[in-house]
Amino acid sequence: MQTKRVTFSHRWLPYLLIAPQLAITIVFFIWPAGEALYQSVLQQGAFGLTTQFVGLENFRDLFSDPDYLHSFTITIVFAVSTTAAAMISALLFAGMADYVMRANAFYRTTLIAPYAVAPAIAGVLWWFLFNPSIGIIAYVLHQLGYNWNHLVNGGQALLLVIIAAAWKQISYNFIFFLAGMQAIPRSLIEAAAIDGSGPMKRFFTIVFPLLAPTTFFLLVVNIVYSFFETFAIIDATTQGGPGDATEILVYKVWHDAFIALDLGGSAAQSVVLMAIVIGLTVIQFRYIERRVEY
């Protein structure tokens, strides 16, 4: 680990300074995470009075459970669609804002507003717009001859939560893409313009390749977001339904623990989720270390 050339020397002060954070981390992080690992290899008896060690059986059950595999598939569809929608639209808006420059601050200020909106609220806003009886978008779709009812149609419910989740995430991606574009030396763009390439060509041959590190960073962040931070969107709107059409993994962990009371199964799901986050974090860190400067 990197350190300073010179440091203070003091016998107890550094421990005192680090103690609050260490205490909170151990009590609310290390201990619960250890508990999840421990629970994941136990199974409770029918009345919760006995527990026994079952090794990896909870994990075997999990991956042979069609409901869990279904939830996994839904999560991947949800995460990929949300990430794609939020990143592509943000890249488009950032590219245009970077091009026009005039009124840049005005566009920027408005486009970053959804960052501040809670996922649960974002869900409720779109839930309202698509409400089959009073929602304006559902009404317009109906006039166009398309029958929208996410209360019975699972595919439409999934689309609805994807829209809400992507809407909220556009701001974050926009901020990073715009900052990335503004860090590209103006002279590069001007040289290309003098050589006769138009804005579209410059975007695809210069700007987008130079944004690769930002894009990669955002890709990981967006996947983490859609995997883990979208619980509120689901819970405030579809609650996993209709049926289990929108039951993503974080929703299932909560549901199995607090509603279905399957402690071992939920703990095993927690462990799987932890493994996914740790994997993504490692990828992210390697990227931070090796970030390529062109």
């Binding site: 260490l22 001007e190 909560w254």
Partner: protein, 279 residues
Amino acid sequence: MIENRPVFTFFAHAVLLVGLAIVIFPIYLAFVASTQDSSTFLGGVVPLLPSSHMLETYGRILGSGFGSIPVWRMIANSMVMALGIAIGKIAISIISAFAIVYFRFPFRTLAFWLIFITLMLPVEVRILPTYSVAAGLDLLNTYQGLILPVIASATATFLFRQFFMTIPDELLEAALLDRASPMQFFKDIMLPLSRTNIAALFVILFIYGWNQYLWPLIITTDQNMTTIVVGIKQMVNVADGDPQWQLVMGTAILAMVPPVLVVLFFQRWFIKGLTEPEK
């Protein structure tokens, strides 16, 4: 702008205006809905223009609430939680980053890894065991219970550590020559230098805290402790029939106002704080 291309410029503005519409439309319509009379929603689709019942709606929401507790109480709960998370996390992170960067002590590497392992693991994935720990410590339905577990993450510590590593060693050498104590150095040099970082982190963490959902949902069972973001769900999912949409949307607007204002006012710091530590 580099060259003069009126058609492309027009196209760019058009795309941006579509972007603005996508961002604003849901919020605008929520506001419009909050100004309607409850009977409006019986007659089909929501109108596109505000009506005259705005004061009535907001008065009712803030004053008596509906069924549970008045919404001002929820806003107060959210405020305590968001401020607690932002201030608490900054306070514990800045001193632990200071210890890690400016001291050498036994078990320093162990402490570093214990803290940094939490970097990206959100509370969602360890929800049940964290709940049992909090319950065991008697933290259900308390502000400490709302705040402390959410603080257990190393993001802020990591940012402060990165920033402290960029501060020139000469400052410390000069302080040592002047026989400044570590805490004097911290107070007179590190804190003033960190001002911008603290402000940026404050904005990010305030929003993060305000928008918490899953943790407040399970840690509070007493209605008096409900936060506004959680409270709104209980209004949407009413047991019998349709929700009172004008009240739901009015509450949604109130839940958005504080974090949106914070972001807009501190926009510059906030953007800097988000994009720059990413080194």
